[in-house]
Symmetry: D2
Subunit: 279 residues, 4 copies
């Protein structure tokens, strides 16, 4: 008996859950777990169904489902398997290190297919895990030239997701548009929408906040404005300098990114405009 994830997304309508689960029952797919949600403002229906059964009949199952859901709907059957992840970095080791260990130890169902940095600082760490590292220096290059080289380096890898693991470069629309929507994930070192932009810990220190945080989000062409997947915070106080906030924040950054990534690769995240539904 195999397991797969059915992801359904469509305009809401009466009888949708009955229709979809009835079709699952007809194909003898047992429902292990089911989550659904209909949005408040525009009645968009999202459902994630964990199924167990014999999927040799999957094609006709999906075909039949297409008649159950309203026009403009999508339903996909996703295998449960490790996803391929490409990681972009600059100099900070903590997020990459956590991904490497978690992938190595089987704590996160991802294979890191490669790491690309605009510095070579994390090459040594990456290679310990027998993962290719490519340095694409930005020095002396225009943003466009550097991105062209990055895209060339990226094109050498096959991947499901690209994770910006503290990749400290501003991205142009052209770069972002080179990736399918929902495949580019960033960890931002602030509790968005507070402290958008550069040096958020310095901004937080200057403002005298008592809590700092991190935000994992899909990257879109609105800088730091893509759909938020996960956020978390830690408490700080007057004893924290901007530097010690940054140090304390690192632990939140990697936790939030890992939590977001594990939900994404598990098919639990749906994008809805500039928001997410996370089951």
């Amino acid at each position: 008996m195999e397991r797969r994830i059915l992801r359904t997304e469509c305009p809401d309508a009466k009888g949708l859950i009955a229709g979809i689960t009835g079709t699952c029952f007809k194909y003898q797919y047992n429902i292990i777990k089911n989550d659904q949600f209909s949005t408040f403002d525009d009645s968009r229906f999202f459902m994630r169904t964990e199924l167990e059964g014999d999927f040799s009949t999957a094609d006709s199952f999906i075909e039949e489902l297409r008649h159950v859901i309203p026009d403009g709907g999508i339903c996909k059957l996703m295998p449960i398997q490790r996803k391929k992840v490409l990681v972009l970095v600059t100099k900070e080791a903590h997020v990459l290190g956590d991904l490497l260990i978690k992938s190595y130890a089987g704590a996160l169902p991802i294979d890191i297919v490669g790491v690309i940095g605009n510095y070579d600082k994390l090459e040594d760490l990456t290679r310990k895990f027998d993962i290719p590292f490519v340095t694409v220096s930005h020095e002396g290059l225009s943003r466009e030239e550097h991105e062209a080289r990055m895209l060339e380096a990226i094109s050498r890898f096959e991947f499901d997701y690209v994770v910006l693991a503290k990749y400290m470069r501003i991205l142009t629309p052209n770069f972002v548009n080179s990736f399918p929507n929902g495949s580019l994930i960033n960890i931002h070192h602030s509790f968005l929408p507070a402290f958008i932009g550069a040096k958020p810990y310095q901004q937080a220190f200057n403002r005298g906040v008592k809590i700092i945080g991190a935000t994992a989000h899909f990257v879109t062409n609105d800088l730091d404005e893509g759909p938020i997947i996960a956020q978390d915070v830690i408490k700080v106080n007057h004893n924290y300098s901007a530097e010690s906030m940054a140090k304390a924040g690192r632990d939140v950054e990697r936790q939030v990114l890992v939590r977001a990534l594990s939900r994404v690769v598990d098919g639990k995240v749906f994008i809805h405009g500039n928001k997410t539904v996370v089951f």
Copy 2:
């Protein structure tokens, strides 16, 4: 259009969700929200479905559902309305005070029908809100005599739930058995199962823990061992004496109780042996 909560509980079986939601669809009950869960160890199925529709046909709907679910199953349609709560107290004001304010301000859909204390200390506070207060002193009485008087006082009220809001008396099996299972809710001032029994904050201080907590649970005849509904904690450190732990703990106690109670009155809590399923 009215809203009601359908609560289903039965042995798990293939096609249950399809069967139940199909019946809802047949009766033109729109599903606003649906949660279901099947237990790991004994495959017991629980489902809470928020429905919207015309419930003049509710009786035949329930009758039809009884044929959909396996033998030994239960399905009930619950109106969404304020619940009647009787509160038992001793001397501490914080939990009762929070319930009074939240009931008064409409933040919790409960009506407090009365408060009974083994001291009269909270009579003044209770009467400010025009709620009857009965003092049933335990002084000079055996436990059995006192409980008999308590039960007599309790019998004068009509209620859905009895909340022990820091009622600091040990209950006999006879007392507990006087109430339907799931109608007696206690707030225990420790993070169960740590520090069962008397003076948990003193125990926590003596042990030097760095976190203290509170637990809301249904009362059964296993002392402090009933099904846990909600728990929460706060951090403490060496600066806390047993007394300041107790003071800090009060805020967690009332929050945990209110969270538990709001889930219970909303039909979100199912009892399963010594555990709960909380949607």
Copy 3:
């Protein structure tokens, strides 16, 4: 033996702790608890010392301390006693209700001397606790006229602090300047600096954040930009509408305000520019 709080604030200098604690020792004041901090950017020294002793010699003690600390420093001996608090409200009961209960039950060392609202909605609740309530309606009045009437009403009370307990009016500089710096405390229903301004829960819903929060701060003439005293957050998800975010947020609002207020009345908060030091 009496207890008092010594609050010292001055430019940092070598030997300050030795000088101050040496003077305490000379006067036979026992140090129960001591906290000090020197700021990172401008080396400002803050110290809070809980003392036990015979304070009949307090005047010469303070006189002597003035020679120990650098010019431009302040040192004050504060009695440990209940503070007088005036509360301003609009229509929401939860923050006021919590203050009333906590003051009544002795959980917060404050006496609420009065409540002033621009609606009369909370008069009934306030009077239950035998506290005067004054309604100063803003209807048909300019902002300036309304504030003039508010200030007149406020002037009838004697108080140490004014707490804006969900007082939903924008304040003019003239109004703010009528109070000593550090005596006007507001609870803002967002995690500042995110969602400054109106309808922060609607803003949070629109942005799709996964965490919402509240901020207690001193009021200055920078709207929502005064020194932050305390902040806290709770997690939300796609199931929350703007309304249910607001409801969930209320519990954080009152907790954060109570935490801030209890620190302030305990002499634990120092203002330093647009920030606070909270011991």
Copy 4:
């Protein structure tokens, strides 16, 4: 200018802070940060003072301090430098992996001098970081024989602390007594004192708790009863099996251990009976 940590511990007495900080001032040691605490029950005084100055006169400074503090007191001047840590493991990679990354990346001021396991499962991971790994299998050996071999292997390393990073063996008093008090640190996979002993996650699942946690503590000859250094928790619900609790708990385990270890190596932890003071 060098920095050192002064750690003082003695019976409480009047004028201690004045005496110690006065001596610091006399030696022109500037106080960067100071924390002190006196216990509630037995008036034991603890103080940690971060000093900056010229420590060529450190010996006479300490000699002079010995006359300032009461008999039976201890004062030590600790250099700020990376500590040597030996790690014991069984099969789980997450805690070790985190220590390796944090040590490698400079996020924790420790050098891991070696790793010893009763299985060889983590040898590959350890050697990636060029750190020696020794396997000391327990198979076919009595507990005493195995411990004798462990102690022999341990004796080959020079270290400040031994960290039990999910070393799943019960220790005999003889083994524990081979290490100085305060040098053996364990991470226990439950929120002590709940679920002492084997399989805490299974116990937590069986009890139906809504929160699970982890505890870092010094090891003494009371099993799971040594002084607690740090604890933290995460929320769980009915969706968690014992296995998924264990998986979720791993993140808390490593965070709690790292937090505890970073405090210990920073001289911030004092042992007081079966408790700790953590500045």
